[in-house]
Amino acid sequence: MLRQMEGSRAVAEAVALCRPEVICAYPISPQTHIVEGLGEMVKSGQVADCEFINVESEFAAMSVAIGSSATGARTYTATASQGLLFMAEAVYNASGLGLPIVMTIANRAIGAPINIWNDHSDSMSQRDCGWIQLFAESNQEALDLHIQAFKLAEELSMPVMVCMDGFILTHAYERVDIPKQAEVDAFLPPYEPRQVLDPAEPVSIGAMVGPEAFMEVRYLAHAKQLTALDVIPRISEEFADRFGRASGGLVRGYLTADADTIVVALGSVIGTLKDTIDDMRADGIRIGVLGIQSFRPFPLAAVRTALQHATNVVVLEKSFCVGLGGVVSTDVRLALSGLQLHGYTVVAGLGGRAITKASLQRTLREAIAGTLQPLTFMDLDWRIVNRQLAREAQMRRSGPIAESLLRDVGPIAAKVI
């Protein structure tokens, strides 16, 4: 049924349709509306046979999820940013134990300086944690991915993060098609755990493993993620067959077939990129965008296939590896090993900096002209950067950086963006 609603609500509705049995949550912007919605649905009885637990920290949220998932309950939680970092130890533990927990990440920057706005630093900080990481382009895709995520997680016995841009998606009202309960039930069978804490058949879960077998355990986790490279497209296709729309999968190209220049991106910025590319195509520029839906496992082969005939590859990412450059671009580069392409990393939208069509078009035209720096920070305010560098060169006690920069920026209340 078509409805106009907030992205967070759409995700809450999707999770509810998946018949979760335990939901635990600790509030953090911009994830809050999702768990508020679910909390209400559980309390009102709209979601039956479900425990909603308000925990005291994100670390506890994931720990409760570990306990309930290991006891055979379909388990969901959501977090963002500092919350994901605070639960990091348990995030690794959940995947190490092979527990099919589904977690929404309402993507947000990581401090300091504290910043509540969107970028992908939080999810990227956990890229090696053994969870599958799926990125949603729109609220419809976020909704759909949650339904797919439970199926994927439970089939592989592996946790899945569904990453959606904080505020840009979570707080955006738009049209979504919400499936019927019977349709979801037909797609997503009840959870049958591979391992479960059961007095009838006692097992010990979480034993210490020494050098004699640790590498093998790790390899098996990798092998399982490689299996996911087959399972993710299959589930996406099955979803399309049942629900009549394409969502998820590994990668999705837009006008890439004949493109000389291909932009690689994750999440909601793909939408803005598509509009930008339409404008540039109208000027006769052969350009396309490749959206990566599955960041972990990283679809090396699919990315290579999609990009290998292009001349320029621009990885536009809302994440940044201090001291190196791009996070996504490093993986894309691996996919393109041995190919001689012009590669650019464009870091954009950090901490909620608006990514506009105008800036994108300017940057992409520079890439096509060959004048773009290999690592570019889109719309960086060099004025305040250079002033701070000068200040630091001038005096030892130059003070806290963030505060100094804000003084240079001046009053921001008067600005519209």
Binding site: V22, S57, A60, G67, G72, L197, E201, S204, I205, A207
Partner: protein
């Protein structure tokens, strides 16, 4: 003195039960301990890798066996990282004869919450009022009073249906005897060395988790030691007869960390109680409801002297002022809990 027999007319006073035992065989079958039964579960079965004389291994087997009997074997345990976890489950072996999950150091209480939540949903789906399967979460003092404190407090505050058992050996023994917030005043650990003008642990008296648990007004809080097997078992049984958040704090001497003889584990646990250093009591909804009184009151020196971690307090270069401070703490416990009364044999 010759060992004269008591007059045949005088009744034999069998208060010497439990660990002052005259033997289970002299008791009625119902009064015998779970450990005395050949039917006991051996929840933490033999073959594990704990040190000789490990109080924690004893305490865990006593407690979990009692809980298994109380729940008719319908029990799941969550375990914090620590000695208990490491010595019981070296891959690919396990000593646990019940479903058991080790997740992390600081989250056993929250994992217990999750298990309980899953069981509640399963019970509801099966049309039951509550789950027959019960949950225990357990850890050492580090996993309880320090790194797991937040999760534990959260579990208490929500009154989740979990019995949390802390096996308190008063330091981080698994990592090689470092101070925890349960380490007592003056104790030497590898991070509170017996050097300087105030050797050993300088801070107060250790974090008093049972009283913090009581402040959450949860249904049941109790302390016990491995010296009083029957008392420990009774408390576990009582706890398993209740629902909601429950807390059991068991003093488990550690021969390695305390610098004590392996054969003295039970004796030290008993002396901790008999000096008043470790008050043994029960509390319900924040109120003390029962106190185990001291039978043979002894000065704290008797408890401290057999332990090398307190050796710097004694001898010509000793610290009588610090000893006095420990005695004062014990005396305070005696006053606070009323540990001495007319039945006490001074």
């Amino acid at each position: 003195m010759s060992n004269e027999r008591a007059s045949s007319a005088a009744p034999v006073k069998f208060y010497q039960t439990g660990t002052f035992t005259v033997g289970n065989r002299l008791l009625d079958a119902q009064q015998r301990s779970v450990q005395a039964s050949t039917e006991r579960n051996n929840s933490l079965t033999s073959g594990h890798r704990a040190c000789q004389g490990c109080g924690e291994a004893l305490g865990a087997r006593y407690a979990i066996d009692a809980a298994m009997r109380a729940t008719n074997g319908q029990l799941i345990a969550a375990n914090a990282t620590g000695c208990l976890e490491v010595f019981s489950t070296p891959y690919p072996e396990t000593s646990w004869q019940l479903p058991w999950l080790h997740s992390l150091f600081g989250n056993a209480a929250a994992v217990g919450t999750g298990i309980a939540a899953a069981l509640r949903v399963k019970a509801r789906k099966a049309g039951l009022a509550q789950s027959a399967v019960r949950v225990i979460a357990q850890g050492g003092d580090g996993g309880t009073t320090d790194i797991g404190f937040g999760c534990l407090s959260g579990m208490f505050e929500r009154n989740d249906d979990v019995l949390y058992i802390c096996y308190d050996n008063e330091a981080y023994m698994n990592t090689g005897v470092q101070r925890s917030s349960a380490t007592p005043f003056a104790a030497r650990t590898n991070t509170t060395m017996a050097v300087g003008p105030r050797p050993g642990e300088e801070a107060g008296q250790g974090k008093n988790l049972p009283r913090i648990a009581m402040a959450h007004e949860i249904p049941y809080v109790a302390t016990a030691t491995v010296a009083d097997l029957r008392d420990l078992e009774a408390k576990v049984e009582k706890a398993m007869g209740m629902h909601g958040a429950r807390y059991l704090h068991i003093l488990v001497p550690c021969p390695l960390g305390w610098g004590a003889a392996s054969c003295d584990t039970i004796k030290l646990a008993r002396l901790a109680r008999e000096t008043g250093i470790f008050p043994v009591f029960e509390a319900e909804r924040g109120e003390v409801t029962q106190v185990t009184r001291i039978r043979h009151h002894v000065p704290v020196e008797e408890y401290l002297k057999p332990q090398k971690r307190f050796a710097h307090l004694f001898g010509p270069k000793g610290h009588p002022d610090m000893l006095a401070q420990i005695q004062a703490q014990a005396d305070r416990n005696i006053r606070r809990y009323g540990l001495l009364d007319q039945e006490t044999v001074a």
